[in-house]
């Protein structure tokens, strides 16, 4: 059975219009390939009805916010790479996944596939 991926919801105004929202999205999209394999993520812009619904569902307070597995983790603070890894590891679906994520703490952001990753997450598509 495949491992359950870690779910990330990024609550934004709009990652195109708002630079802070854009770099919140980029912090996830620039995670290295080994991390990309275990996460799934989506941008929720409050400019659309779906985004408003998600903001209410997750009890969002500020924009932008990164939610991991339903928790409001980074509220109006763009995370450092290691902080993101640690918060993902805390919410890993198995001890093996947690260990694998923690082993990637020194790898750092990777910008090679950033456009594809942002596209996949629905960034700027409202």
């Amino acid at each position: 059975m495949p491992e359950k991926k870690i779910k990330i919801d990024v609550l934004t105004l709009d990652s195109v219009q708002c630079a802070a929202c854009g770099y919140m999205m980029e912090s996830i999209a620039a995670m290295p390939p080994d991390v990309q394999e275990v996460i799934e993520y989506k941008e929720w812009s409050i400019k659309g009805n779906d985004g408003i619904g998600k903001f209410m569902e997750l009890k969002g307070k500020v924009l932008p916010t990164i939610c991991i597995e339903g928790d409001l983790v980074f509220e109006s603070i763009i995370p450092q790479y290691e902080e993101l890894i640690d918060e993902l590891a805390k919410r890993a679906s198995s001890p093996e996944m947690k260990e694998r994520l923690l082993s990637l703490r020194e790898v750092g952001f990777n910008f090679d596939n950033i456009k594809e990753n942002l596209q996949k997450a629905g960034a700027g598509q409202f």
């Binding site: 195109v16 912090s27 109006s76």
Partner: protein
């Protein structure tokens, strides 16, 4: 319309009523029924959009453009244009190189879209003067510019690789200083340093990186006899006292801030403050009544150093 009243308010002075400053941006393109991407590259359209929008909304001041990609584009970064939004930065040359390795230079009046802005200002300025409406120049702030250049890794670098981060910010400060000088040359009476991502960092990081690297641009604005403002977005509560201590005449905040908190800090530091109509909930989505929202802002802001503006 009342240009001087806006300047007075942004400098923290008491005014008869609160002046009104719409950050119209690419909405000006919508007003003249043009797509944003075409609008931002055409000086005639830019001037037409500015003047028509200023007249339509009875603005006391209006930004030439609200586009934080101007400096990045002039340095050769890849930009994506949208027909209904501002351009976005697509490449980060300093994600794995130094400023020298990437061959970056401080852009001047002949680079990127700067000639378009000079031409647009030349056409629009006399018409805005007739309307008694101030022209604002908006320079991309140093931290946002550093993020454009280095990508999201910059927010890790400010903690883990300080020397590298300071080197990038030193270059960005030179770019911002040149931008404000160019806006002054265009005739902008008010010049804002717009650093939206500065709300997304810890206060100590703000002091070390944003405060320090805004100083040369602020000094240039003042040396050239213009009014200085710092615009910040998002929930800037944790850094707002530091914003008041930057040395600008005033600042602008976004809809997520509590206006009573903002007003009290601005009065304490005797600086102007602008905000904070709810751009999303009222003006864009209409979930709140824009009229009621404006009344709430006006009541909280008062008439000492307050400018009504979108948040």
């Amino acid at each position: 319309m009342a240009k001087q009243m806006l300047i007075d308010a942004l400098r923290g002075k008491k005014t008869d009523t609160a002046p009104w400053l719409p950050y119209s941006g690419v909405h000006c393109a919508y007003v003249i029924n043009e797509p944003a991407d075409k609008y931002l590259k055409d000086p005639q359209l830019l001037a037409k959009g500015l003047v028509e929008t200023a007249r339509k909304y009875k603005a006391d001041g209006i930004p030439l453009v609200f586009d934080l990609s101007v400096e990045a584009e002039a340095m050769g970064l890849e930009i994506k244009y949208w027909n209904d939004n501002v351009p976005s930065v697509q490449s980060h040359p300093l994600s794995n190189k130094t400023v020298d390795e990437a061959g970056l230079k401080v852009p001047g009046p002949d680079d990127g879209r700067w000639p378009v802005l000079f031409e647009a200002a030349k056409i629009a300025k006399p018409q805005l003067d007739e309307l008694d409406c101030a022209l604002l120049g908006l320079a991309c702030g140093p931290l946002t510019l550093a993020s454009h250049l280095a990508g999201v890794r910059f927010f890790t670098d400010v903690v883990k690789q300080k020397e590298r981060a300071h080197s990038v910010m030193k270059f960005c400060a030179q770019v911002v200083e040149k931008s404000v000088e160019m806006y002054a040359e265009m005739g902008c009476e008010i010049i804002a340093i717009v650093d939206p991502v500065a709300s997304q960092i810890k206060n100590e990081t703000f002091k070390e990186f944003v405060h320090a690297y805004c100083q040369s641009a602020i000094a240039a604005i003042h040396r050239l006899g213009k009014t200085s403002v710092f615009f910040i977005c998002g929930d800037a509560t944790k850094v707002l006292e530091s914003v008041c201590q930057l040395g600008t005449h005033g600042f602008g905040i976004d809809e997520q801030m509590n206006m009573n908190f903002v007003r009290d800090l601005a009065l304490k530091y005797k600086v102007g403050f602008a905000g904070n109509l709810k751009l999303t909930l009222a003006l864009s989505l209409g979930i709140l009544s824009p009229r009621e929202d404006a009344i709430v802002s006006l009541a909280a802001g008062g008439t000492e150093g307050f400018t009504l503006a979108p948040g």
